[in-house]
Point group: C2
Chain length 411, copies 2
């Protein structure tokens, strides 16, 4: 469904005149063409940012979020979806990066140490109250207050569970799949993922190879990247069922709440997961209300930033559904790990059945790259939200004038 | 929800070297800021358009639609929603405008005279088959084959039913509302619409004024423009119920299929309508599957053009739900009337309980402005899809260099 991606990012930087040398960095991930549309959308938000008082903005990021999400003219282009929502996310995440740096804390810790009321003020409850009121969200956070400190210590000691997509890309030979699957287990992962959906016969064979390689105790998730209609999804998963796939990810359109519910009923006990392309909290709300998914997959750069992801984490906890973020791309691992760690310390209060995706790509471009150890993300200690690239990487790869592009004849 | 709109459009023109003087014109409607993002998205589609053989593209607009909708990198920014989907719609609608002009037919007639298989080839059934297969869509079209000629003649003679939003804007005095409501009835309209949702006491009073002005036989729709949460919507409509509103339009988020279903159950017999901000056919599919709406409101410039709107019209007919398009803005009346007329002649085969919105704004900028007569749209006879503006209007209002903008100091 997403062939020949050219991993790219519309990169946003907030500069201030505070003289403290701190900047807010973040990005919206794209797969190449369209990066300029995404950049135009981020630039359209400048009026809400440039020239404002830093303390005021950072001191009330709930208000800042609402101003941009409900921007009275830009909202016509959504509302709250696609390019514009991703632009709001990039700007807002850059503000969170700056705020965490100023506080001298990694973002996960900064969020997880906020008061309950401070966290609630960050969330936009508009359109959510039939599934979660502010009072219900408060109950979730209050329930997790006891033990925050212990969980923070545990997280620092043990790291957060990860799974790996490295073995399972389409196009790998069976030998390579088998070798990488074994390596993943040897590296300490307890879950791997296979891409599926191109050819059923191939998928059955690959699933068999993978299951034989990892044994019965390792979870194998499969990911269809939206390829199927509802009926196809069900038939395909019935064919893979003998090899016990753990979840089926993106079986169909990310907008199709009812379709996911139908698939889920039909493929039980295989779990259904989605979210990397779910446009906003209203669609996540329905996935939870209808029990259409077993696993909620947030993405750091799809919705309106940390604030909307907090709303989704709260709703998932309120409905008792685990959140296992999508990552990969460019910088998505670096950013989204913070949200799962906040979830563990201060929201759901557990990492049971929760894993953050790990893809071993492009981490070298980031100032604070993720650190995996025995299948777990080590909790980052550096201040900020994780999305800052090395200045040299930005300079080298800026389109179309960076040296890497010039060398390819971009102009 | 959409305060201070500055009605705008990203305007797309397809030029050819055929030497016949014909061009394809269309637009994506915006409310001001964001028009440049929308324009960037249209430009990003140039690679699918510029330099191609005109006959090839126009001869298979189903394929042309699928190429752009499934563009492998741009789809990451949706998929199939927001700015990118609207851009595909603008380009595709411009291609339809050109094709209808070359055929020497108004678009409604050009579409309504296509063979059943030609119409089916235009539709992308991906993600739809659990609600409507190609065979089911074929049954809809085949059922409407008998009587196409008679209905075309009837349409040319009588025009298509309209309703008017002119009396009911927020901010009008009660006197003005009363006067405009009476005038609408005197002009032959059988349905008017009031904007609601700012203040309940005001709305109850305005509804009472409007009902007294038009009497019991005129339908009064109300439109909340997404303002409410689900519970609010229900309470508000219960308060307005004594004055018998005909439908409540956009009671809540356009993404909230379950929310609309809940509102519909609670406010019966008041009908629920939505669609002007529904992002694509997958969301419409669910609104129909769940019986979440009584009225489907397509928009000419929101989804991926004529092709996706044909899919929605077919699904609505298959589910027995009337389509009453959203219009207004800039050129939306001019464009969307064609789709309802095609629906009447060749798809649902009826105009019972169907009306196209009419707003009396900005028609003077269009080469073939809509013509209303006794509350009905006269069927346009001029070749094309209706979206072509006068060259002088385009030149005058082009941002930021047109004289109208220069006079306002845009730069």
């Amino acid at each position: 469904m997403n062939p020949e991606p050219d991993y790219s990012a519309a990169y946003a930087v907030l500069h201030t005149d505070a003289g403290d040398g701190l900047e807010g960095h973040s990005l919206a991930f794209t797969t190449g063409r369209g990066n300029d549309i995404q950049s135009a959308a981020i630039q359209a938000l400048e009026q809400w940012v440039v020239g404002r008082r830093v303390d005021e903005v950072l001191g009330d990021l709930g208000a800042f979020s609402r101003e941009m999400v409900h921007e009275p003219q830009l909202r016509w282009l959504g509302p709250e979806k696609g390019v514009v929502q991703m632009a709001v996310g990039a700007v807002l995440n850059a503000a969170w990066d700056l705020r965490a740096k100023r506080a001298g804390q990694p973002l996960w810790q900064h969020l997880a140490r906020l008061d309950v009321e401070e966290l609630l003020d960050l969330v936009d409850f508009r359109w959510l109250t039939d599934a979660m009121t502010r009072a219900e969200a408060k109950a979730v956070l209050t329930r997790a207050l006891p033990g925050r400190e212990e969980r923070e210590a545990l997280l620092l000691e043990r790291g957060y569970p990860a799974y790996t997509t490295t073995p399972g890309w389409l196009g790998y030979s069976d030998d390579k799949l088998e070798r990488l699957a074994r390596e993943a287990v040897a590296d300490g992962f307890t879950q791997i993922k296979l891409k599926v959906g191109a050819d059923l016969t191939d998928d059955v064979r690959r699933m068999k190879v993978a299951r034989a390689a990892v044994g019965d105790d390792i979870r194998i998730a499969v990911d269809a990247n939206q390829r199927w209609d509802v009926g196809q999804a069900i038939a395909w998963m019935h064919a893979l069922a003998p090899y016990e796939p753990y979840w089926i990810e993106e079986p169909t359109s990310p907008d199709d709440v009812l379709g996911h519910a139908t698939v889920r009923r039909a493929v039980h006990p295989i779990k259904v997961a989605t979210g990397e392309h779910v446009a906003n909290r209203v669609v996540f709300k329905q996935l939870l209300q209808l029990r259409a998914v077993d696993v909620v997959q947030i993405d750091a750069a799809r919705v309106a930033g940390v604030n909307e992801n907090l709303a989704i984490l709260l709703m998932a906890a309120h409905h008792g559904v685990p959140v296992c973020p999508h990552a990969g791309g460019v910088g998505l691992c670096e950013m989204v790990q913070h949200l799962s760690m906040t979830d563990f310390v201060a929201i759901s209060g557990t990492w049971a059945d929760r894993v953050v995706e790990h893809v071993d790509h492009l981490h070298e471009h980031f100032v604070t790259p993720v650190q995996l150890e025995r299948g777990r993300y080590r909790a980052p200690l550096a201040p900020g939200g994780g999305g800052e690239m090395h200045a040299a990487s930005v300079a080298d790869y800026t389109f179309p004038d960076g040296p890497q592009w010039r060398a390819r004849g971009a102009r």
